[in-house]
Every structure is written in C-alpha cells, then in structure tokens.
C-alpha cells in the first residue's frame, strides 16, 4: 500500500518532469536543432570510424591465416646454430606456431608446387634455397614488431611477411582510429558544451518559474529533473538519428559492394550494427547527461 503510493507519486512526478522538459525543448527549438545536429555529426563520424576499423580488423584476420613471418637463415650455418636460432624464436612470446623448413624441404615443396613443370628444377646443381623458419603469430598487429626483433638475431639473413599489404592495412586502421578519435573527442566536447549552453538558456528563461516552484514547496530534485531529461533527450534524439544514418549507409554500402566487388567481404550488418548502435546510443545519452549536469550544477543553485 505504502510502496504503491510511493511509486504512483514518483510516476506522477516523472510525468510532470517530462512535460516540463518537452515544453522547454519546444521553447528553445532552434538552439536544440543545432545541438542535435552537432551530436548527429559527431556520432555519425564515430560510427563510420568504428565500422571502418572493424572491417579492417575483419579483413586483416581473414588474411591472417595466409600471413606468416618467414625467417630466412644465412647459408652454411652448422646444424647447432640453426637449432639455437629456432629455440630463440620459440622463446619469443606472442607466437602461435613455429615450423622449421630445411632447404631440402623447401625445395621439395617448391617442386610440388611446380607440378608438371618441376623438371626445370631437376638440372639445379645445388639447392639455392636457404633454411627457414615459418612463424604464425597470435596477433597480426604485433607482426611488424616481431619481424623486426627476429631480424636482429645473429645468423638471420632476411625476414619477410605479409607482402606489405597487411602492414599498410594496419597503418590505415591506425590512422583512422587516431583521427576519428581526435575528431570524435573534439566534436563530443563541442556537443557537451552546446548542450550545457541550451540547458543554461532554459534555466535562465525559467528563473522566475523556478523561484515560484520553490515557494510552492518543490524540492531541488523536482526542479532539476526536467532539465536533466531535456539534456538526455537531446542526446538521445541525436544518437537515434545517427544510428539510423549509419545503419542505412552501411547496408547501402554492403549492397553496392556485393554487386561491384563480390570478393571483398565486409562484416555482415547484424553483427556490427548492434554493437555500433549500443555505443552510439550510450554516447549520445552520456553527452546529453554530462552537458545538462554541468549547467544544472552551475546555474541552478536552488
């Protein structure tokens, strides 16, 4: 009975708070349009960046199986040194698999891959291939660093990996990550301050009303909540629009690419879009809440 009374009281209060927030949003319509627009832009950029990075990672991991580090050893090393180098490589953390390919085996493999035309290789006087280790790594992002460290091992002649494609891809995602991060932080801050400014404006235009509400016995909480709701709603509206734009754009892109370049496969939409959706919505609400809390804190000393 008492609990039921409390919840209806709370529900009524929330209803009035939402109504006040709505009135306030209508009153500051144009300012709110600007705020929502900035939120949309920053979240769309963020969403786009997340999709690019996710796809690059996805692509990278599909390459990953083909991508190994090959460590070629100097010719005429004795068997012990070859084994020693193998041990050193195996001791390096972050590796999945290390396989020794002797020059004899390498030649065999080459012959096998030449198939019918393996005859060309028959007239070789000696095996021109070096001994090598073929290494699979756990994390493609580590590949460059690992390759570099292997290069410094004594007895190692050359280190090869990924034909440069993977490296470039990783570089691109690195810059996309960095740039979009910087842009999103800048725009996010701008959005927070714009929200703070609108909430400040609605606090100031309602100063008189707030004073009278206080005299009628409204609690601080009761007075603050509508402004908080207003900020969160602005953030949410921006986020929902951004989510719509991003998902529409991504699905459109998927369809076009399927027709144009069927061999490139992007991450299927359902898997990515839900996570992007959650991130964007969360961030929109966070921006709105932070902005309104700043202004409530600074201008609503009730």
């Amino acid at each position: 009975m008492k609990i039921a009374g409390c919840t209806t009281l709370l529900l009524n209060t929330m209803f009035y708070a939402c109504r006040e927030a709505a009135i306030s949003m209508v009153r500051n319509f144009w300012m709110n349009i600007v705020v929502v627009f900035v939120i949309i832009v920053s979240l769309v950029i963020l969403g786009g960046a997340i999709l690019v990075v996710l796809n690059a990672d996805y692509f990278a991991s599909s390459l990953e199986s083909d991508v190994e580090i090959s460590v070629f050893l100097k010719p005429d090393l004795d068997q012990n040194t070859v084994l020693e180098i193998g041990e050193r490589i195996k001791d390096t953390p972050g590796l999945l698999e290390v396989e020794y390919i002797s020059k004899e085996r390498a030649l065999e493999q080459m012959k096998a891959s030449f198939g019918e035309r393996a005859g060309i290789l028959k007239n070789l006087e000696q095996n021109p291939l070096p001994d090598a280790y073929r290494i699979k790594v756990k994390d493609v992002n580590q590949i460059a660093a690992l390759a570099q460290s292997f290069e410094k091992f004594p007895g190692v002649d050359k280190v090869r990996y990924g034909q440069g494609l993977l490296e470039q891809l990783l570089l691109v995602t690195y810059w996309v990550r960095l740039l979009s991060m910087a842009l999103v932080i800048a725009l996010g801050l701008a959005a927070v301050f714009l929200i703070a400014a609108t909430i400040r404006m609605s606090v100031l235009t309602r100063q008189n009303e707030i004073g009278i509400m206080k005299l009628m016995g409204a609690t601080n909480w009761y007075i603050r909540v509508p402004f908080f709701i207003e900020g969160v709603m602005l953030g949410l509206i921006g986020a929902i629009t951004a989510v719509a734009v991003v998902s529409w754009g991504y699905m459109e892109l998927l369809q076009r690419l399927e027709v144009a370049v069927p061999f490139i496969n992007l991450v299927p939409e359902t898997a990515v879009l839900t996570s992007v959706l959650v991130v964007l919505l969360g961030l929109g609400v966070l921006i709105g809440a932070t902005g309104s809390l700043i202004s409530i804190h600074r201008f609503l000393r009730v």
Partner: protein
C-alpha cells in the same frame, strides 16, 4: 504551532524590519496581522515559510526550529502551507488552471486528482469561468483570487495570506472572508495581514499589531485600531 523567540530581521540595507519579536500562534487560530505600511508584516510572514531567515532569534514550526532546516525540509514545510503572496507571483505563460495545478503537482498528486480539484477550487473563489485564461488578461482582483485558489487547493494545515483582499471589491472580499472562515472552521490555521479595518473589526479574531518592526499589541477578538 508557530513560535517566534526574540526574532529580529535586518535586511541588507541595515533597516530593522522586525525587532525582537516573540509570539506564539496555536493550531486552528484565525489571526490578523495589522499595522502601517512598512511595519514588518510581510517580513514576519516570510519568516514563517522561510523565504527569509531571521537575523537573530528562532522560529519554530510544530516544535521544529525552521531556521536550521535543510532545503528538503524547507520544501516539505512549504507544502504544508498555503501562501497568498502580496505580489501574486503567478506565472504569466501558464493559464489560470495550470497556475493552480502547479501547487498540487509539486506534491506528486495524480493528474486525475488535479483535473477534479482545479475547477472545484476555482468555483470556490468565483473564477470558474476564467479557468483557461492567462493571468495578464485578468483584473487585479481576479488575479488575487487565483492566488487564493492556489493557496487553498492542497488543503494546507496553515494558510498565510498577505493582504488577500487588497484588490477586491467589498462584495468579493466578503466572499473570500467567508471562504477563509469556513476553511478555518475545518481546523486550518489562518494568518492574514491586512489594512482592511472593517473586516478586522467585524470578524473579532485575534489581532497582532505591528509598528516599526515591533509588536505593539496582541489581543483576542481585537479591533484594527485601538484608538477608535
């Protein structure tokens, strides 16, 4: 219900608006606060619902020292009091109905409740027809009655009215006084500041006479001016 202990109020301009006032008001009383303009009537009233805090002394409400109240306690105190402000304090961009509903909304009353109570209360002050008007479209007397409706709508235990009949014609002010009288009979305490000597003399309630911030007289069933 209310006690003042050696209360003084000095505003920032150093003029003492109240000086060493000690008084007690019992539950269920009907009390007139009289005195010349600037005597400190509004100041005394503001100390009760804590729009102002005393410079010295203590104000007690139901046994609690309200000068030490936290903001939450102040809100709860104010919800028990129906205030008729001398300067109205209506919201210009809300209709009469919305202005009155306001006082109920802060208590968390349901919309259903408010929908029923608003026209009923407006009828009591004779303003049923003006329910959807904006305050600016009303005469001074009509605005004053809106303020009275707002003060009585949530059945407060105490009504404080600062010159509630100042803008009313004799007939309407007679109606309002009858309304206050009825509310008082049902147990609500009423404190009313006024310059309307005829009302004070006719109703024969307790009168506290203020002058230059001091209590000059305090009689049961008193009259406006002792000299006459």
């Amino acid at each position: 219900m209310i006690q003042f202990y050696n209360v003084s109020k000095i505003y920032k301009n150093k003029v003492p608006a109240l000086l060493d006032v000690t008084l007690r008001i019992k539950k269920g009383e009907f009390l007139f606060l009289v005195g010349p303009s600037g005597a400190g009537k509004s100041t005394l009233i503001k100390l009760i619902y804590r729009e102002e805090v005393p410079s010295r002394g203590q104000v007690m409400f139901n046994g609690k020292n309200i000068t030490r109240f936290s903001s939450g306690e102040v809100s709860r105190l104010r919800r028990k009091i129906g205030m008729v402000f001398q300067d109205f304090r209506l919201l210009p961009n809300k209709t009469v109905a919305e202005n009155i509903a306001f006082a109920l909304e802060v208590t968390g009353a349901s919309r259903e409740n408010i929908r029923q109570a608003v026209p009923l209360t407006l009828a009591k002050v004779g303003l049923a027809k003006k329910i959807d008007q904006y305050p600016a479209k009303l005469s001074g007397g009509e605005q004053q009655r809106v303020v009275i409706a707002r003060a009585i709508i949530n059945n407060p235990v105490l009504i404080i009215a600062d010159e509630p009949t100042g803008n009313l014609d004799p007939d309407t002010s007679g109606e309002i006084m009858k309304l206050f009288q009825n509310i008082n009979r049902s147990g609500t305490t009423i404190i009313m500041s006024t310059h309307a000597w005829d009302i004070v003399d006719r109703m024969k309630h307790r009168v506290i006479r203020l002058k230059n911030g001091k209590v000059e007289g305090d009689e049961d069933s008193g009259v406006y001016n002792l000299a006459t």
